[in-house]
């Protein structure tokens, strides 16, 4: 029973940080196993390297021994999701999906099986399917985590008001870590930074000491919020707290690296970002590391990292790769294709931004403008979003809007990567400023 805490609590971490997801690898990894009996796949013996592995092995053993192991299989599914969150091993999502399929085979239509399946689908960015399951569940019962799944699924599809309704239902039913973290993220998405910080602090207080990853996650998000609020000291403290809960936690290392970059400590940034990118070799991490390396004039290493990102990013995180390519003005058609592919799964603020930015990078400003305008309309306070909005508006000849967005980006400049800062500074000191349009 103790492990319930860990498994369920881990689920929330998926909210809103989808850029670091490896779902295509998971889908690819799933392909060879489609013909396997899902129960056999879920219960196949794996490595036992650490406590999480051993907990999974114990659940497998227990499940194999019972005539009715549905509860154990359900927990096993969540255990795979939880392990994936720490290990970044996409194969764990495949195993979680197999556990869900096994459970569904044994108990067709059972709510617990559907909820697990819904969460796995969400992790795999199959948001529309996850939403269908969530809507089915909330129509059948009043279980707080069903509303969590529903909110997560619609939020990723860009329907923030519907997500707010679902998360409100969660809070009303049960205020706790899972509902707090979701509420915080939604507030942040809607531009309410102070409100997000308040709620994330509640989440930190409610995190289970037995589930250090949940606490680490909440501290990591708080660190990002504090950085955005231009409180680098508080951000650094929060990141340190996250790493005390979960040493070598990639998300916390990434934020710590960003804090070092924002406080003019590129050498320190390189050290932690190297570790972060090693642990979680995703475009978001690699791009940040590459920028830090270039600040330190370590161009050869930066180039190698970027090459790896370009080679693998389409699988691991196409949206971030699209943003990177557009920012570097590299292969604009590919950037557009990646963003549009992502849009088919989700139409949230950040995917719209990536799409608009890719269109702009290819010179399709008239198409980019309505997309970025829609993205900023949600009120999300994000420096990258504002930078892109400013530059696209400037390119569209909308000087006043460009000035407004670029000034907002400047206000949040600590959130930007060095390469983006370069872009911002150029725009602020370049043609637009000379023409009197900016600042």
């Amino acid at each position: 029973m103790k492990r319930w805490t860990v498994y369920f609590a881990g689920l929330v971490v998926s909210v809103g940080l989808s850029s670091g997801c490896a779902r295509k690898e998971a889908q690819a990894a799933a392909a060879p196993s489609v013909n396997l009996d899902p129960c056999a796949a879920a219960l196949a013996q794996g490595p036992e390297r650490d406590d999480r592995d051993r907990a999974i092995a114990r659940l497998q053993q227990l499940a194999r021994s019972l005539a009715s192991p549905e509860g154990e299989i359900e927990r096993l599914g969540y255990a795979y999701v939880a392990r994936a969150r720490v290990s970044s091993d996409p194969g764990d999502y495949t195993l979680a999906e197999r556990a869900a399929a096994c459970l569904e085979r044994r108990r067709p239509g059972d709510p617990a099986a559907l909820l697990l399946k819904g969460h796995v689908l969400h992790q795999l960015h199959r948001f529309a399917e996850a939403e269908r399951i969530a809507r089915d569940l909330v129509a059948r019962r009043s279980f707080v985590l069903d509303y969590g799944l529903l909110g997560d699924a619609v939020m990723e599809q860009g329907r923030l008001d519907e997500a707010a309704d679902a998360y409100q239902k969660m809070i009303d039913l049960k205020p706790f870590y899972q509902s707090y973290t979701r509420a915080a993220h939604l507030r942040w998405l809607k531009g309410d930074l102070d409100g997000a910080i308040d709620v994330m602090r509640l989440a930190i207080g409610a995190a289970s000491p037995r589930d250090p990853e949940s606490a680490a996650w909440a501290w990591t998000r708080l660190a990002a919020y504090e950085l955005q609020a231009d409180r680098a000291g508080a951000a650094a403290s929060a990141a340190e707290m996250a790493l005390r809960y979960q040493p070598d936690y990639p998300a916390a290392l990434l934020v710590q690296g960003r804090i070092f970059l924002a406080t003019d400590r590129p050498a320190d940034a390189v050290a932690v970002l190297r570790n972060a990118a090693r642990l979680n070799p995703l475009p978001e991490y690699q791009w940040t590391l590459a920028d830090a390396l270039r600040l330190q004039r370590l161009d050869v290493e930066a180039t190698a990292i970027e090459a790896e990102m370009v080679a693998r990013g389409r699988i691991t995180d196409p949206r971030t790769l699209s943003l990177y390519l557009a920012t570097r003005r590299m292969d604009a058609p590919k950037a557009i294709a990646l963003a549009e592919e992502e849009l088919r799964a989700r139409a949230d603020v950040f995917t719209l931004d990536a799409h608009a930015w890719a269109l702009a990078a290819s010179g399709r400003i008239r198409e980019a403008l309505p997309v970025i305008t829609r993205a900023v309309a949600e009120g999300t306070e994000d420096a990258r979003l504002f930078l892109h909005a400013g530059l696209i508006n400037a390119a569209a000849g909308r000087g006043r809007d460009a000035k407004r967005w670029l000034n907002k980006a400047e206000h949040l400049r600590s959130m930007l990567l060095p390469s983006e800062l370069e872009e911002l500074d150029k725009s602020l000191t370049g043609t637009a400023r000379e023409s009197g349009e900016l600042k």
């Binding site: 319930w4 049960k174 939604l186 308040d198 509640l202 000491p209 403290s237």
Partner: protein
């Protein structure tokens, strides 16, 4: 009494079994409803309530534990009370007992202070010599407020301080020889013998109330591990909670504050968190303050854990005892656990124990711990009957009435001449073997006169892993984070 209970009985050779097939059913109150297991700080473990004299005043001693399976010395994230949780011990009196309404609620609210936030040493800066001295970086304080359920009137009873958790070398005075390398101190019988942290944290509140809040050993004992381990039971069993701590709030309530001792009281506890509006309307600032939402409830041991079906466990957590008759009496009157016992354990089946259990419903519905306030002090558990310095009180039995440990009521006939159980289900004391008592009650038949008693039966864990204190706050000294043993 033993003769009274047993003389008509065929004694089943039931000792030694435990509830095969009930893997979830007897998971103790430590991991009860599915959703509350996501919220350790608000996750209730056990509620205690018994009559005892405190400082010369007849009192109802109550206690609520939270944080199940609290690993001693865990770091860096120490277990602490949550400032954002409303902890409440409720007491029903008079007609409210049967109706399940709280006549009085005693709310514990905590606030956490750091002396130095510019350090990674969250809790201990050095060896703590006294509670909240300069070496205790994180200190929690609390306020106890009495709420009259009939009038809504709120009365602050006073404040207290939470002692440090038992880390080891940082907190030597919890441990034997005042040495952090040694195991925690054994249970004691007098205030003067208590460790100094506990002594310094016992708060005398207004109107004769006495309070304590802080880390203690988890005094619940049962072989839950064996139940979950393919039902491979063993003899002797092992205390699955052995070596684990919890956080305890204890409150001694003078009986005259409840309207005197010629009555029954009903005790339960809840934890609540605040809801709030996720997104503020218009330009209003988003807040995190709203009304309270109950997230956990605990009354008698094992009710939600052992009798309520999975589909209704969360419903139980968010409802009041006043709803129990409507929502949950079916689980007491037709206990699935009795059916499982018949199907999986007992040979041959015991007829008549699966349905119509008005006797079980009498214990659990509404789910408040019923305490007869008219009795003398309950007998206390110490370190067992033969402990050299801190033995159980004479006549104490972990099995309560099934072990001939009885009290005499002044207000009810009980089993004759006012004889009622000395422990659970008349109140609940530290040391009551609630698993064995519950199983014995289930396979017995208390509807008849005289009752048919079968057993005792249980899990072969017959004592806590550490001795209880026989002085407030009763629960054992917290296990040493540096030196403790899990079974």
């Amino acid at each position: 009494m033993r003769r009274l209970l047993h003389r008509t009985l065929p004694l089943m050779a039931a000792a030694g079994f435990l509830l095969a097939g009930s893997t979830d059913a007897l998971a103790s109150s430590h991991m009860d409803a599915p959703l509350i297991t996501l919220d350790d700080a608000a996750n209730t473990t056990d509620v205690y309530a018994f009559v005892h004299d405190e400082n010369g005043r007849k009192s109802l001693v109550t206690a609520l534990g939270v944080y199940p399976f609290e690993e001693p010395g865990i770091g860096p994230n120490k277990f602490n009370f949550d400032d954002n949780v409303l902890y409440a011990i409720h007491v029903a009196t008079g007609d409210d007992v049967a109706a399940g309404y709280p006549t009085y609620s005693y709310e514990f609210r905590f606030r956490t202070k750091f002396k130095n936030r510019k350090t990674i040493l969250q809790s201990y800066l050095d060896v703590i010599n006294d509670v909240d001295d300069a070496a205790q970086n994180l200190t929690q304080f609390y306020t106890v407020t009495k709420v009259d359920g009939r009038t809504g009137r709120r009365t602050k009873l006073g404040d207290g301080v939470v002692p440090p958790n038992n880390q080891g070398n940082a907190t030597p005075f919890y441990n034997q020889g005042d040495n952090g390398e040694n195991p925690a101190k054994d249970g004691v019988a007098t205030f003067e013998e208590l460790d100094k942290y506990t002594q310094q944290s016992i708060a005398a509140l207004d109107n004769g109330y006495i309070a304590f809040a802080g880390q203690r050993d988890d005094g619940f004992y049962a072989d839950i591990q064996a139940v979950f381990d393919l039902l491979k039971l063993r003899n002797p069993g092992r205390d699955s909670q052995g070596g684990f701590n919890l956080h305890l709030m204890a409150l001694a309530i003078p009986v005259d504050e409840l309207g005197g001792d010629r009555q029954m009281a009903g005790v339960y506890a809840t934890t609540s968190r605040r809801r709030f509006t996720v997104l503020a309307d218009g330009l209003a600032k988003s807040e995190v303050i709203g009304d309270w939402v109950q997230v956990a409830r605990q009354g008698n041991p094992l009710f939600n854990e052992g009798l309520v079906a999975v589909q209704d466990k969360d419903l139980y957590s968010r409802t009041q005892p006043s709803s129990d008759k409507v929502l949950f009496s079916k689980y007491a009157e037709k206990p699935e656990l009795a059916k499982l016992l018949n199907r999986l354990v007992l040979e041959p089946d015991i007829p008549g124990i699966e349905t119509g259990r008005t006797d079980i419903a009498g214990i659990f519905i509404p789910d408040v711990i019923k305490v007869d306030l008219s009795t003398g002090s309950a007998r206390l558990a110490g370190g067992g009957p033969t402990h050299p310095t801190n033995p159980d009180d004479p006549g104490f039995s972990r099995l309560s009435i099934f072990g001939d440990d009885v009290l005499v009521s002044q207000i009810q006939p009980g089993f004759g001449d006012g004889v009622i159980p000395g422990g659970w289900p008349n109140g609940r004391r530290f040391g009551d073997d609630v698993v064995d008592i519950a199983v014995t009650a289930l396979i017995s038949d208390l509807r008849t006169s005289p009752p048919i008693i079968r057993g005792p039966a249980g899990d072969n864990v017959n004592a806590n892993d550490t001795a209880f204190n026989k002085v407030f706050p009763y629960e054992s000294t917290p296990q040493n984070g540096r030196r403790h043993v899990h079974h």
